[in-house]
């Protein structure tokens, strides 16, 4: 196994995350055993500060600015770990790809908690759980069959996905025991591949027209801002459910809220065009919308997992092996993503 002979530098500057949020003392001890660890938590990294450490830095952990001018001064650099969650335009990716520098993200850590929340939200819409609880507090609940006039079950249901990246693929195993028929629209994935995941490839129209539950899990790219609108929502079966857990920017949010308020469909969303949501936003009044406060992924257990993933992959990289837990930025797609960084999610 290739082994590094001299000690290498690891530069840790994870803002906006705090070191202590993502690395526990054991994680830090492991990093220290791997190389010369420099921790930077005091504001942005100045050029002077960068230059003082760049010469023998092999690993950078954080979202610091890395234009070509800086990268050129880091000849030993092998990997940059983004620990925020989205690939941002802070790095000259082309330079990195040309020079064998891995740019890695910790997005996979959020897939499980978001999938769990998405399933919970889907069952909630289907079975009227939050609605029932609200009725109890208003003293207007009905019981049994009367409570279930509009309820449906996920078992053997027609389910659709818009996007089937890491997040969607994390929802699939949770749906497996429900024996759903799953259609997926994802323009980046061929039919053959979707079939290996147990899904039928479908057009956007088919997904909306034929699904009783639609999971919107597409990331935002430069191409797909607000690409889902009334022309899609209007095709959904009456009373069908839409669960939005990726980014609000992929939908025409006002239209989505409008369809729910009119009772046409049921909607659950964990994301909003603006956070906090306006106090007077009509979504707050509708009984057909389930509102979650961007909490699907931001689970403490997920955040604490970040440090462990990074440490494990740093170890592999310093041994000359490919990382396996973090996600490598891909030359073809990294420039397409346009997620706004969201504070600490």
């Amino acid at each position: 196994m290739p082994q590094s002979a001299t000690r290498q530098r690891i530069f840790l500057a994870p803002a906006p995350r705090a070191v202590g949020d993502i690395f526990d003392s054991d994680d830090l001890a492991q990093l220290r055993a791997l190389g010369d660890l420099i921790v930077h938590e005091a504001g942005p990294v100045t050029d002077e500060q960068f230059n003082s450490i760049s010469g023998d830095t092999a690993i950078i952990i954080g979202q610091i600015d890395l234009p070509e001018s800086r990268l050129k001064k880091a000849p030993c650099l092998r990997a940059v770990f983004n620990v925020e969650g989205n690939f941002l335009p802070n790095v000259d990716y082309v330079y990195c790809f040309r020079n064998g520098i891995r740019v890695l993200g910790i997005g996979p850590v959020f897939a499980e908690p978001v999938a769990e929340a998405a399933l919970g939200m889907a069952i909630d819409l289907a079975r009227g759980i939050t609605r029932s609880d609200r009725n109890f507090r208003e003293g207007i609940e009905e019981y049994g069959l009367a409570a279930n006039r509009e309820a449906f079950s996920l078992f053997r249901q027609n389910v659709g996905f818009v996007g089937l990246g890491d997040l969607g693929r994390a929802i699939l195993p949770l749906l497996q025991p429900f024996h759903c028929h799953i259609r997926a629209y994802d323009p980046w994935l061929p039919e053959e591949y979707l079939r290996t995941l147990g899904c039928d490839a479908a057009s956007l129209d088919e997904v909306f027209r034929l699904s009783q539950v639609v999971f919107v899990v597409a990331g935002v790219t430069s191409d797909n801002q607000e690409f889902l609108g009334s022309q899609h929502f209007s095709q959904m079966p009456s009373g069908a459910a839409l669960v939005l857990v990726s980014r609000a920017a992929v939908v025409d949010f006002d239209s989505l809220v409008d369809f729910a308020r009119r009772g046409r469909i049921r909607v659950a969303t964990d994301v909003f065009p603006q956070e906090p949501l306006l106090a007077a936003h009509p979504a707050r009044q509708s009984g057909n919308i389930l509102l979650c406060a961007h909490q699907a992924g931001a689970l403490d257990a997920a955040i604490r997992q970040i440090g462990k993933m990074v440490v494990a992959d740093v170890k592999l990289i310093l041994r000359g092996l490919p990382p396996v837990l973090c996600k490598s930025a891909q030359p073809e797609t990294v420039s397409l993503f346009r997620s706004k960084p969201v504070a600490k999610t």
Copy 2:
């Protein structure tokens, strides 16, 4: 295959259910093809009415009174289908067992929808879904990590079951993708059997002390009224969740509500000691209780499934074969169950 030579009588008197709620026209056509179908929907079945049909009745579908005096007048009777949901003291079970008359129940039809609701309620408590929605409506929601201070995930969690009958066993496959460590207390099931289900046998105390989520899915028997009380709830880890979906009578309900109100544990319940719940009941005010209105099983799709199960099993029985979809009453346990019939659940 044994085949009945002469046409047999099928007596259908499903009150309190309506014929049309559980049998569609195709189901009824199939029953008519199997025998001489007599439908009784007009009030209780009098002795006179019973005597006029009992002589050549092979199948009774419904919860009519069947004391020994009546059963003796039905020499061809092979099976009684209870379509309400609980085995009630309306039948002389001992007579039936001695005389090879199957008494069958349609309880299995409710297992899937109740399991789905129970999973939804568990995710809701763990992830704070209904709570978040309520906060939005009060304009006090927090976002991201701040919203998740007390959230936890079901993934790889310690989960406990009190009771592991049909209902509990229907929850297990839904939990499988979450890779939980599952402990189960069920005094009717040996350790070996629980292990084949992927669960560790545990004492009641262990279930409560070691589980972050406890599913209470035990049926009510003559022995276990209110067998779960403060001595159990007090052992739960702080912030742990209890999901009650079988019968309220198995818990000390006031104590349960009290533990939730004090913020000691989180509770979700689909059942109540009295329905409707008193308007002034303190459960209605607590932010730590998720209230569902006895709607976990009473799903239209489940009710409509009853007729199909019954028709399929009537066919088998009239061919001299054992039923496979309905549940046969067991001599050892039928007398132990003490569920109050709940109108049409």
Copy 3:
């Protein structure tokens, strides 16, 4: 929980099995703790012997003769455990059913090992494993693609079942990762039930005509001796595979061997009309038949499991609860089975 006040007698006479084959010392200690254990291993149980213990015997473990005349002398008898594997005509079942005496079998213990062997045999036929090994020993093996001219994979294959009792249902989970399309013929099981198992109900003809692999797992009844013959085998696709692991008596064995010898289909069988198979039997010469010596179920680990199942269910029965690990004889079907007892399988 109901508990027996006085000690009850347990009579253990498991011939043709030896006590030590199925019960280890811990199992026996547990039986002794449950009641007054009498072990009988010296030949058949005479009436005199039976009468001397019958008065207060609650549990009989073994295949001793139990006609009405004996059963009448056992007023405390609650259960008879057949530990051989097949329900035999040694017991007056009707008397038992009328008098609330459970007759239990340990058949389920063989389901897993037989299913494992059946899967291994199916993969062997599909992929030519034994054939390849035989070629090596004759020095005529070909490699790679040349070795695989007639090979096929189970992945996403059309698979058929003849019979879907305990044994067939134990094969289903092993096939799940292969994503097969499964058709099943079982006249005792309704379409609705087969669908819950993930199978399509099919006619016998459809099973044979549309399946690349057919598992014959039907038990022998008084009705189905040799019910599978050339009219079925001739419908199979050329080169399709048939795996027989239940009883040879359900097929026209000569015809089956003939189809394999002519290269029309591939056959694997674990059972034979006569054991040992005649030295000159043509099956021994055919390269298209995989021969296993009735070894699919007779696994040591399975045999040793018998004692544990029996002890666990004896415990439940003596507490007044229904058994859950052994299989209860059913009034409708017990008289239909006609398996010859097979020495110690």
Copy 4:
């Protein structure tokens, strides 16, 4: 979605595979619709031939020599598809990585068939299937328990993996229904990652000492030639099974055969240091070795899948998207692999 404006050239020279073996007419039609397809089947590609097409070639499918001198003349090249199965030293990988040229392999197509064969071989060794068939042909078979004296089951067994790359990971789902305890040694994969696959990380010694079945599925690298030898085999429990399906070069083959011949362990192998195996090789005589003729992966259905994978990924690449079905060569590891190309496997 980015779309290519001008038609691009696709150069198809798949020797040693024939075009018709991997692409059907529909696949070829799709390639033609994507670009200007040039098919080369007549011997090696000369520099002159290469130069005549390199200027506007975007995709090369095949294992032609691609040193820097040629790659420099292909400024539009985006991807090279190796359709043989192993990454060979025919390509200047460093040049490709620096210049954003994907080098892709079709190895994943063999994972399923090899996994299926490996499972079949493991069940065969555990249950003595081929051995039983051989005994029948020699007329020395024993039946039932007597046949099973040394048999064991995979259910709940201790299983070990040496290597857990694509191939090992394809075996895992097939083992899932057997509920095994799985230990894996893979120096390229961290403990955290193995745990997500349901395996415990283990040392080589632990894998051999604690497993009843060991799957050797490690690829050959420059570091691990014959890294498994008598020091490992001697630690295996007596009668344990070893299944070798990756490359013979990772084991000391003579030692492996010796352990099997002495009856110490059971061995199944699909690969040999030299193919064909010497006529006088002692492996041909041992009853404890199951010999398969490099046929685990070389399944017709797998070969035909190659074309479909390549076409689907070519489509993605020409749209500016990352491939998802083929495997991208990784800078860190591509130089480590040292598999000899095996004709058409």
